[in-house]
């Protein structure tokens, strides 16, 4: 893959940032509006995949992208697990939320205790995980074709 035509590349350049921003918005507002970590993570992964398809980044993929994706994916998983274990250590059961974390006033951005944090963790995990799968599939097809 050598990337796509100029029209696609210019459009991607304009759209990718908005897509990433919207994905981040969906993740961060998961406890207020419909959506959350899974949906927003898919949006983030879609933006990254769009860029790499349009500009042909797949054939120059190196260890760096793999390792970065893996690190983000694993750290998202660890963060989520850490939230669960924090509740367990501090208050004796998994995913303790009420009374331990800051609940805040409903409908504010900083509210809901661990729910926004868990959304961020899942968003990291889903976004990086899907992008890693895409990289692995795309890169291996390229290698096999050679």
């Amino acid at each position: 893959m050598r990337g796509m035509s100029l029209i696609v590349q210019v459009m991607t350049g304009l759209l990718a940032g908005i897509l990433l921003l919207y994905g981040g918005y969906i993740i961060l507002h998961g406890h207020l509006t419909p959506g959350g970590g899974f949906a927003g993570g898919v949006l983030v992964a879609a933006a990254l995949i769009l860029v790499s398809l349009a500009f042909g980044a797949v054939e120059q993929v190196e260890r760096r992208e793999y390792i970065l994706s893996s690190i983000f994916e694993s750290s998202g998983g660890l963060l989520f697990l850490g939230l669960a274990v924090a509740g367990y250590l501090a208050a004796d059961y998994f995913f303790r939320n009420a009374g331990l974390f800051y609940i805040g006033r409903p409908l504010e951005l900083v509210s809901g205790g661990i729910i926004p944090l868990a959304n961020i963790a899942i968003g990291l995990k889903v976004g990086a995980g899907l992008f890693a799968i895409f990289l692995a599939l795309g890169a291996s097809r390229f290698v096999m074709k050679e």
Binding site: T33, G113, I115, A118, V126, A132, A136, A139
Partner: protein, 181 residues
């Protein structure tokens, strides 16, 4: 209890047929019989959610198996005569099953509890206490990340396993080329 044992016997027979037969298509159909029997077992054991998932997965599996078998083996699918008769039979069967399904689904839809009035007490509790206990306005987030956080951890583990599996397989596939990652 008796019907469970009968189903078990059917499943055993179908599994034996699936592993012993020489005809791949027959094996796929026998495998589908096993899967759908499992779905009926779930219904008998009063686990309708699992039954629905099992039916969907099993249907897809049979369709995929059949598609793969038809594409990779030489099955004589050409029909030379009696085409009109078969088409008429297909249409008749389609209409009959479609009508049956429609009648069933109308009956089922009338049994569903009204919106906002769940049958289970625990669900009622989630709806009523969600905002107060978690402070999250999105009730779906409140349920999947707080009340049911353990389930979500399992889902995240499924995704993690999928990523690890793909990366492992693809790394093995690409290791054959020296010089590339």
């Amino acid at each position: 209890m008796l019907e469970l044992y009968l189903l078990l016997a059917v499943m055993l027979a179908a599994a034996l047929v699936a592993s012993e037969t020489r005809n791949l298509l027959a094996a796929a159909v026998a495998l589908g019989l096993v899967g759908f029997s499992v779905a009926i077992m779930f219904i008998l054991a009063q686990a309708p959610d699992l039954a629905i998932v099992q039916i969907v997965v099993e249907t897809l599996t049979v369709v995929f198996f059949t598609a793969v078998i038809l594409r990779t083996t030489d099955v004589d699918t050409t029909v030379t005569q009696g085409l009109k008769m078969e088409t008429a039979m297909f249409v008749a069967a389609f209409l009959a099953f479609g009508g049956l399904f429609l009648a069933l689904i109308i009956g089922v839809l009338q049994e569903i509890p009204r919106f906002g009035e769940p049958v289970m007490r625990i669900a009622q509790e989630y709806v009523q206490l969600g905002l107060e206990r978690t402070g999250a306005a999105n009730i779906v987030s409140a349920i999947i990340l707080d009340f049911r956080g353990y389930d979500t951890l399992g889902e995240a583990t499924v995704l993690f396993t999928a990523v690890v599996g793909v990366l492992t397989v693809m790394r093995l596939a690409s290791r054959k080329k020296p010089g590339e990652f």
